[in-house]
């Protein structure tokens, strides 16, 4: 269970990136986080792995208080919460296999345990035949799938995906979504920030809409919609 309690994040020189966010996400849920750029989606995900600190409020994953966690124990949180980054964050001097294996090596697993598990995950993301390729030899979709493999190989209970389909064509985006749904089936909580209207509208999962740092809607079978205020701005821009 993830719980945000009146969480505010203020970056110096800016308005609040997030204001008074209170939300609960149950174990095994698939949640879309939508909203325009700058709405606070990435900030919310970064708070969950304490890549940044909340200015106010508390964030808890089960009994783990993220705000008060000892910096030296931060890795415990980050092993619990796997992250798929929009810019992949792969190590370019390591192969697909080595990048994926990193998720287990950091846990101190033995090579004999690592190999079968990594191969299973590479099969799942469809990269078994690319195991010896380096990231720079891959397409954007393959790099993203390598990032997913690394994030899930250690079996995290929560998976954060920050616009994982942001740089991908529609077909590859659906491939990624299929992988994420497979992972959810084994009980992993998925929180995915996205701008992809068709995916959100078609899957009809819980959808939290953020705008200017605030939650403007939280629907169980949500759709991608733009607030009236924002719609007005868009109409004005197109008429000009």
């Amino acid at each position: 269970m993830i719980r945000f309690d009146n969480v505010t994040k203020h970056f110096s020189g800016h308005t609040n990136a997030l204001s008074d966010i209170t939300v609960e996400i149950s174990d095994g849920e698939f949640v879309f986080l939508i909203g325009p750029s700058g709405a606070g989606k990435t900030t919310l995900l970064r708070l969950l792995i304490r890549d940044t600190f909340p200015t106010r409020g508390t964030i808890k994953i089960d009994d783990l208080d993220i705000k008060t966690l000892d910096p030296k124990k931060l890795y415990i949180l980050r092993r619990k919460v796997g992250t798929v980054f929009q810019d992949f964050k792969l190590l370019n001097d390591r192969t697909v296999y080595e990048n994926a294996a990193l998720g287990l090596e950091i846990l101190g697993k033995k090579p004999t345990e690592i190999k079968p598990r990594v191969m299973d995950v590479l099969e799942l993301v469809g990269l078994a035949d690319k195991r010896d390729n380096f990231p720079l030899e891959l397409s954007a979709g393959e790099m993203q799938r390598t990032g997913i493999a690394r994030a899930i190989v250690g079996g995290p209970s929560i998976l954060l995906a920050d616009e994982p389909t942001g740089n991908l064509d529609p077909q590859t985006s659906w491939d990624i979504l299929d992988i994420l749904r497979e992972i959810q089936k084994i009980g992993t909580t998925i929180i995915m920030a996205t701008h992809n209207v068709s995916i959100v509208n078609e899957l009809k999962k819980r959808t939290i809409t953020l705008e200017q740092g605030k939650i403007i809607s939280d629907e169980v079978k949500g759709k991608y919609h733009i607030s009236a205020k924002l719609k007005g701005k868009k109409e004005h821009a197109s008429s000009v």
Binding site: L74, Y75, R78, F85, G103, I106, G154
Partner: protein, 298 residues
């Protein structure tokens, strides 16, 4: 295993920085090793002389056994003498032969006639030595009086000088080595900033990230130590005849350096390798640890 592989990649990708660190550590360990041997050697010599009788009275060739007996009785009568031992010309020859048993040329040239008889005297308290001196000087047949105290004092001055100069130099070089390794590690941390950030984000523990850097610093130290050890070993092999010639009368030195193929000599060299490598690893790893504390915050 992964830490070792990462360490090797760090070294391979910036070989010149690594070479600078290894050379600095090599110089430090080489001097530390040489001064360590010099200090241990001089301490052994010092201990050897300290264990010897405090006064050795050498008699002229004309002096008789009766002269030495008279002196012995006179000294014992003062009540300030703990023990005395008469060493005849024949005894002196036997001692000489034992000390030079490996050098037949030296044995051929010496007979009992040219060696002086002597009386070894130990005082109950070292402060009595100078009170005993006039008694000895006035005795018949005395040619020379050698005070071990003078020898010991001179050796002590040398040993202290070696300790001070060597110690200071080694400390300065050790600090220099730590700073060099710290700078090299700092540069490598900066080069791998993105990778470190990724590792942190995916849940690598602080030690998982630090280990390759610490091992790298340790590797520099061990590499420098091994090169130093090769040079020190070569020097020891080269100087061995001279060492045995000058200091062969000291049992430990004679035992280690006496025979080249002996296990004690091999054991000594292996032990030296372990000591130097351990010190090198500590120095290198310390430099890395300082850099990690300074540049890699969690």
């Amino acid at each position: 295993m992964q830490a070792l592989s990462d360490m090797w990649n760090h070294i391979r990708r910036s070989p010149y920085q690594s070479l600078a660190a290894v050379l600095t550590l090599f110089l430090t360990i080489l001097l530390a090793g040489l001064f360590l041997l010099a200090t241990v050697g001089s301490s052994l010599v010092l201990r050897f002389f300290e264990s010897k009788p405090q006064i050795t009275v050498f008699f002229t060739d004309k002096a008789t056994v009766a002269d030495s007996d008279t002196l012995k009785k006179t000294l014992e009568a003062t009540g300030k003498v703990a023990s005395t031992k008469y060493v005849s010309k024949d005894d002196a020859l036997a001692i000489y032969r034992e000390q030079n048993k490996n050098d037949p040329l030296l044995l051929e040239m010496v007979t009992a006639d040219i060696l002086p008889a002597s009386l070894e005297v130990s005082a109950t308290d070292p402060t009595y030595l100078h009170e005993l001196e006039p008694v000895i000087q006035q005795a018949q047949g005395v040619e020379e009086v050698v005070f071990q105290k003078d020898v010991v004092d001179t050796l002590l001055r040398w040993t202290n000088a070696i300790r001070w100069i060597g110690g200071t130099l080694v400390i300065l070089l050790a600090l220099n080595s730590i700073l060099i390794v710290m700078t090299v590690t700092g540069m490598k941390i900066a080069l791998k900033k993105d990778e470190i950030e990724i590792l942190k984000l995916i849940g690598a523990s602080p030690w998982y990230i630090r280990a390759p850097f610490v091992l790298e610093g340790g590797f520099y130290g061990v590499a420098g130590s091994v090169v130093s050890w090769i040079i020190i070993s070569a020097l020891l092999l080269l100087l061995r005849p001279a060492v045995v010639g000058f200091l062969g009368m000291i049992p430990v030195i004679s035992m280690i350096f006496g025979t080249l193929s002996s296990w004690t000599f091999v054991g000594f060299l292996v032990g030296l390798l372990f000591i130097l490598s351990f010190v090198g690893f500590l120095l290198g790893a310390s430099g890395s640890m300082v850099a990690l504390r300074r540049y890699l915050k969690f």
